[in-house]
């Protein structure tokens, strides 16, 4: 079997030292080793976006990143977004604008939308749709998710948690 390789990650602000299999993806380590199951597994080929996490200053499909590649990086998962029980304005806006149905894609959507707003605090609708095109939602909540992102950008008072 695979020889384990030691890595060090900062996950949601906490330093984690792990020994990982060289073939394991960041997604597998997040879900199976760190038990952070908010990050979801679906397509495993980087098409659905359900496994989106923040890796240093960018978001990645964690199914496409080997855990060893993330050695020394800062990882933020959906569990690391809200401070304690308080939702971020973006998370609250997802609920207020009806962006959530079954919810399985939502951790990925929220991570991608959070990144979009960091890079572009005042996106147009087209920029939101392009920015979230890598996150599939079979419930078809795209319109409501875009509304939530735009409302957050506009400082929607409804979005206060």
């Amino acid at each position: 079997m695979d020889q384990g390789i030691p890595i060090e990650l900062t996950v949601n602000g906490r330093r984690r030292t792990l020994v990982v299999a060289p073939r394991h993806t960041l997604l597998e380590v997040i879900r199976d080793e760190l038990a952070l199951t908010g990050t979801k597994e679906c397509c495993l080929v980087g098409e659905c976006g359900a496994c989106t996490v923040r890796l240093d200053e960018r978001i990645v499909d964690s199914c496409l990143v080997l855990a060893v590649e993330a050695d020394g990086c800062v990882v933020t998962t959906v569990e690391g977004l809200a401070a304690g029980d308080r939702l971020t304005r973006l998370q609250a806006a997802f609920l207020d604008h009806g962006g959530v149905q079954c919810g399985f894609c939502i951790p990925g959507q929220v991570m991608a939308a959070d990144d979009l707003l960091r890079r572009n605090p005042h996106p147009s609708l087209q920029e939101v749709e392009e920015g979230l095109a890598g996150n599939l939602c079979r419930c078809g909540c795209y319109g409501q998710i875009a509304e939530a992102v735009l409302a957050t950008a506009a400082g929607d008072p409804e979005g206060e948690a």
């Binding site: 597994e41 951790p107 909540c141 409501q144």
Partner: protein, 750 residues
Amino acid sequence: MSAVRVGDAPRRVGGEARVTGRQQYVADIHLAHELHVKLVTLPVARARIGGIDTSAALALPGVRFVMTAADLPQPVPRFGPQFRDRPIIATDETKYHGDPVAAVAAETKDAAEAAARLVRVAWEELPAVTTVAAALDPTAPLVQDPAIRPNDPLAATNVLREHPVSWGDLDAAAASADLVVENVYTFPMVTHFAIEPHAFIAAPDGDGIAVWSSIQHPNWLQRVIAQLLDLPLAKVRVYAPDPGGGFGGKQHAKYEPLLAFMALRAGRPVRLVLTLEETFQAVRRTAAEVRVRTGLRSDGTLAFEDIEANYLIGAYADIADRVVGKGSYPACGPYRVPAARILARSILSHTVPSTAFRGFGNPQVNWAVESNLTEAAARLGIDPLELRLRNLARRGEAFIPFDTPCDGDWEQTVRRAAELIGWNTPAPAGRGRGIALGIKSGPTTGLSYSTVRLLADGSVVVYAGTSDMGQGARTVFAQIASQELGASLDAVTVVMGDTGVVPYDQQTSASRSTVLMGNAVLAACRDIQAKLRSMAARLHGVDEAEVVVDRGVVRLRGRELPIIDVLKPGLGSLGGELIGLGEMRKEADPDHPLGGTAAFFEFNCTAVEAEVDEETGDVTIARYVTVSDVGKAINPLQVRMQDEGAAIQGLGHTLLEQYIFDGHGRIRNLGAIDYRIPTSMDLPVEMISEIVENEDGPGPYGSKGMSEGALLCVAAAVAGAVRDASGVVIRDLPLTPERVWRALRDRDRS
């Protein structure tokens, strides 16, 4: 926080857990000492299974055992919601690409996956049928062993069943028709593509078994497992965490029976999480070829419909034959049709077992029949909207004889959609418009129980066996309880998905839960209100008849008290609680072709404005209007989400999605790269959804079921707009750019 009202749009119950990642789906649950399971499949649809050599797999560290048909009771037990035709694991031969022949159990996922690749199966490819024509060929191999349906004259063919429905005098009607339009339409195989792949866990549980599944029908699964293991129902506990999308693909048992046998063999929990590719090989929508002959008089009045619908189901029936029967039954649409002949066939094939999928067999025939109406309108020189309105059933009209009459003001819905798309104004240059109507028969039978507990502090626990797979059932039930018992929404808990504590519910399907379970929850709340009435009468020395409990308050002799002011003294020093029981039944009618009349109809009108890129064949939807008659929206935001989501899902089979097979019956586009579902870049430029609320449904406060209506007629509306914009008529879905481009080229050549 005060009580919410029906008609409000509070945040989704369970929403916070979903945006923070705390929501636990089956794959997120781990049991101590669990084993990981990986399925072994063959790279071919149909093969004779020879020897299975597991030695190399078993030699891998961490591998505990490999389960094959030989390790099961003989003959291998079979299961299925309609026919007990599906073996727990393939025995003797595989019948479709993905039919598992063995399953490895190992200490780690890695070991299970590695071992699955080392299981050596000797197999010999056999001819497979994957199309309607091939399956109906008299020399075709039989998909199903005829012994599965003894005494059935069709058992020696690949036709599992025929579903004939007719009324009126077709010959006489045909003689009166001025125009007959006859065409064949095809609808592709598509898959549910829930973002949550199916996941299953089974574990020995005392002298019984516990099963976790992303299932829509936990009580049905409980029955299947109990039958297979010969256990009392009380010894089978099914946990059904909220599915991450169902759409019908999670209604019935798939690999839970296999996992149950493996758990008992291991004496430990076993888990199986499918890959997305494996879900393509587990569930799909029934494909169809539909021949339609529509007869009309010159004024556009319908004379007859003659419909032959060949549905291609898979290798095992699952619920697909019911899909065919129930989906084809309202094939003539919401119209006054004097004479009709509908013949639908369920045709077995060596493909993935097809199952329920949002719309339940209706979108296939709707695509054909509505498209044929658009063509008839063009040939008669009548506006397609006008032609539909001329024939549309009015409230109370028995448009399908012997069934529930028209139960809404459907014309209102159609006129609103036409207004929103601007039907009576010319389309902008380069654009065309299409309009179509969709109808679906609601549940024909049903049984839902609910228990509601009003706790000593006025908070409420609702028990409901519905699965909340995104449609928002939890929120709907919580809103009903909040309104009836006066608790704020955050003081209401809805418990679902555990057959050990939640009372029986028949199923979560056919857009039934707001109506059937909703009524059961309402009845349970009213049961508590009755107890509060007698409590108040006793406390205040008045007659029960003088007490009214309404919307969280108790009224007596001109006074109005919050429920808690009656509850606390009424319960007394020991505290306790009030328990209400609610039951809702939709009785069967054994003489009805479907076994029961429609509890309600889902009715939708979709209108589309589209443009076609003449160079590439790409279809852009500029405006999309969907209007549904929902009776009453208990949560208008959730209704909008369901309608728009259904529309977008419908755009998938209309424009993008289809399985592609090779000569070995293998699916060549498994997974998210080669099979595209709509993304945020595939949306209509403008999406408008509205509802009609006349409070005329059988559900709480006049609600009707509504989760499928907006998907029914998407394809016909879009194709109508493409036809109007470009002049090309396409009768095969999906309307891919290639297909549209070819049609444009043919148009220019002719």
